[in-house]
């Protein structure tokens, strides 16, 4: 058992940016362990995607191709990757931590008697893997102790694809993967091979529909320059006007963390986080938001983050530039008044 496989994910016909981050994590681990890194693409046809590797000094690329992999299903992806991992016996299999990966990678690992170490933010000597616990209030260090391949998924924003320097030692192996393998015509620098899993339509038990959006979007948080965002700390729907008034005074868009939208206090289109919008405004003012990972991934790219929270240990303060520790019901009206005064 040797080598590191990184399973890339596509989004709208391109390799998603978090996949390149997963590859960066794979390369870091590869350097640390002196093992080769192999990039894996999954789909009905992956030739176009493999072209994205052109000019990149990568190791091997394996395209797992089958007509039944054209649309994602947990059954299809689990079966296909199980066959690949059994045939190739890598020591590590790394995924980006996406909704899709969360839907099948735990089953894939369990099928091999292993456990996915999900949402990894740091890789240390050992190797050991750090991930967050208690909604970001504590870090945990995990060590794989099994004898099978180790499955990992990496959190968005934790590894930087800019550091995706080629792992020169790994550009060696051009051998075919399995008897069904044929060389792809892709002109990537990396040797590309195709792995054809054996899949039967009867094995795919779910039938997924086309993605859709729920309602017409009336607000464009993605392009907002100033955002005032509210979380559980606001306690009651009746208190929302307090932050709405601050947003108006600042000329900012109003946004919220998931629980606020779950309760119906603000519409879902104003939700920031992994299940809502990803934003990167000049100013993100987080009010009564503790800063769970799912929220942080949606806003940590903001240029300036200000947090108002009564709990000095709230994880939001780990990413904030400025903080006020205090009761939002006192601080927010004072801030609204101060902003209004400053604008006069």
């Amino acid at each position: 058992m040797s080598g590191i496989f990184v399973v890339m994910e596509q989004q709208k016909g391109c390799i998603s940016s978090i996949s390149w981050e997963a590859l960066a994590a794979g390369q870091q681990l590869g350097t640390q362990l002196g093992q080769s890194v192999c990039t894996v693409l999954v789909g009905a046809q992956t030739g176009e995607l493999a072209n994205e590797f052109t000019g990149k000094p990568l190791g091997r690329v394996v395209c797992v191709e089958h007509p039944l992999l054209g649309q994602y299903t947990a059954d299809g992806f689990t079966l296909a990757l199980h066959q690949l991992v059994q045939s190739e016996a890598p020591a590590y299999v790394i995924f980006p931590h996406t909704y899709q990966v969360r839907d099948y990678a735990p089953a894939l690992a369990a099928r091999m008697g292993q456990v996915l170490i999900g949402d990894v933010v740091e890789i240390g000597e050992g190797p050991i893997f750090k991930r967050q616990l208690l909604q970001g209030r504590m870090d945990g260090v995990y060590r794989p102790t099994g004898n099978g391949p180790c499955f990992l998924s990496v959190q968005s924003g934790a590894f930087h694809p800019a550091q995706t320097e080629g792992n020169a030692s790994s550009i060696q192996d051009t051998t075919s993967v399995v008897p069904q393998t044929s060389h792809d015509e892709c002109r990537a620098l990396a040797p590309v091979s195709v792995f054809t899993p054996i899949l039967d339509p009867a094995q795919i038990r779910t039938s997924p529909g086309e993605p859709f959006r729920d309602a017409v979007q009336t607000v464009d948080l993605g392009s907002a320059q100033l955002i005032v965002s509210v979380g559980r700390g606001i306690k009651d729907a009746g208190n929302i006007p307090l932050v709405a008034e601050l947003a108006t005074a600042l000329g900012a868009e109003l946004a919220a963390s998931r629980p606020i939208c779950d309760q119906g206090w603000l519409p879902a289109e104003r939700q920031v986080g992994s299940s809502g919008h990803t934003v990167s405004p000049k100013l993100y003012l987080a009010i009564g938001i503790s800063g769970a990972i799912q929220h942080l991934v949606g806003m940590k790219g903001s240029q300036c983050i200000v947090a108002i929270n009564k709990d000095p240990d709230a994880p939001i303060f780990e990413v904030a530039d400025y903080g006020i520790v205090g009761d939002l019901f006192e601080v927010v009206p004072a801030l609204t008044a101060a902003v209004k005064a400053a604008k006069q």
Partner: protein, 256 residues
């Protein structure tokens, strides 16, 4: 329809984190515990399905004795009966070890549907439901906001990233992990709390289920997070702190 809901008891939200002397977990003394919120949404979905279709809702939870309070809450909200897998080494088991316990307890019930929250608020693995499906050989769908029973099985609304959704059809029996926000959570009524006292909770010792508990992944050490940025905390009265913030917003961030 017979529905099993797997629920977890977790540390109260926003509890101050105190790490134990060994540095391997929190010092558990003195904390309050509550039902994992995504599991509360799974229970709500199950109760609504039963109200519409008839059937039975069974909650199953693994953990030490204290888990009983969360089970009673689920019964008070309307679950028909419960299975408590008594397990004192719960924290030492990895996601697969816990799912094996749940699978062994659920299998004899032979339910048409198994629901659980998409993730726990303490460990946040988000894997239990998916591994359960794998162990039980059942199809699954994750991050589900709405469940519709059809002639052939289920049609579920699945959340995708960044505000997108899709419908997924799958046959029963099946496992679904439920995303929060699909329903409004109910509170236990006084009548419900009274009724819960006469409902059955079957205690099963983890050892009786004879599952493999040797972990393949070990949580070795915990620590308080180190700051990614050096936050400048603005102190003073609300008026002083906000006046200082407005200065920063005006002259440093330049957004005023």
């Amino acid at each position: 329809m017979k529905i099993v809901v797997a629920i977890k008891q977790v540390l109260e939200r926003d509890a101050q984190v105190r790490i134990d002397t060994a540095g391997t977990w929190i010092d558990e003394s003195g904390y309050q515990y509550e039902m994992n919120e995504p599991d509360a949404y799974a229970l709500e979905e199950a109760l609504q399905l039963r109200e519409a279709q008839g059937g039975e809702v069974i909650v199953v939870s693994a953990g030490p004795e204290r888990v009983g309070t969360t089970i009673r809450e689920a019964l008070a909200k309307g679950a028909d009966r419960a299975i408590h897998i008594l397990c004192d080494d719960f924290g030492a088991r990895d996601a697969l070890g816990v799912a094996r316990l749940l699978a062994a307890a659920i299998q004899p019930e032979n339910p048409a549907l198994i629901l659980t929250g998409l993730q726990s608020e303490d460990l946040g693995y988000g894997q239990t439901g998916v591994i359960l499906a794998e162990l039980l050989g059942l199809p699954h769908a994750s991050l589900i906001l709405h469940v519709e029973i059809t002639g052939t099985g289920l049609k579920v609304k699945r959340e995708l990233e960044e505000g997108w959704f899709q419908f997924v059809e799958l046959p029963t029996p099946a496992v679904l992990t439920i995303q929060s926000g699909g329903n409004k959570l109910r509170y236990a009524t006084l009548m419900g709390i009274k009724r819960a006292k006469s409902k059955e909770t079957r205690l099963v010792a983890a050892a009786e289920l004879a599952t493999d508990s040797i972990p393949v992944v070990r949580l070795e050490q915990v620590s308080l997070p180190r700051k990614q940025k050096s936050t400048q905390i603005l102190t003073g009265t609300p008026q002083e702190a906000t006046a200082a913030l407005v200065e920063k917003l005006k002259f440093e961030v330049r957004v005023l």
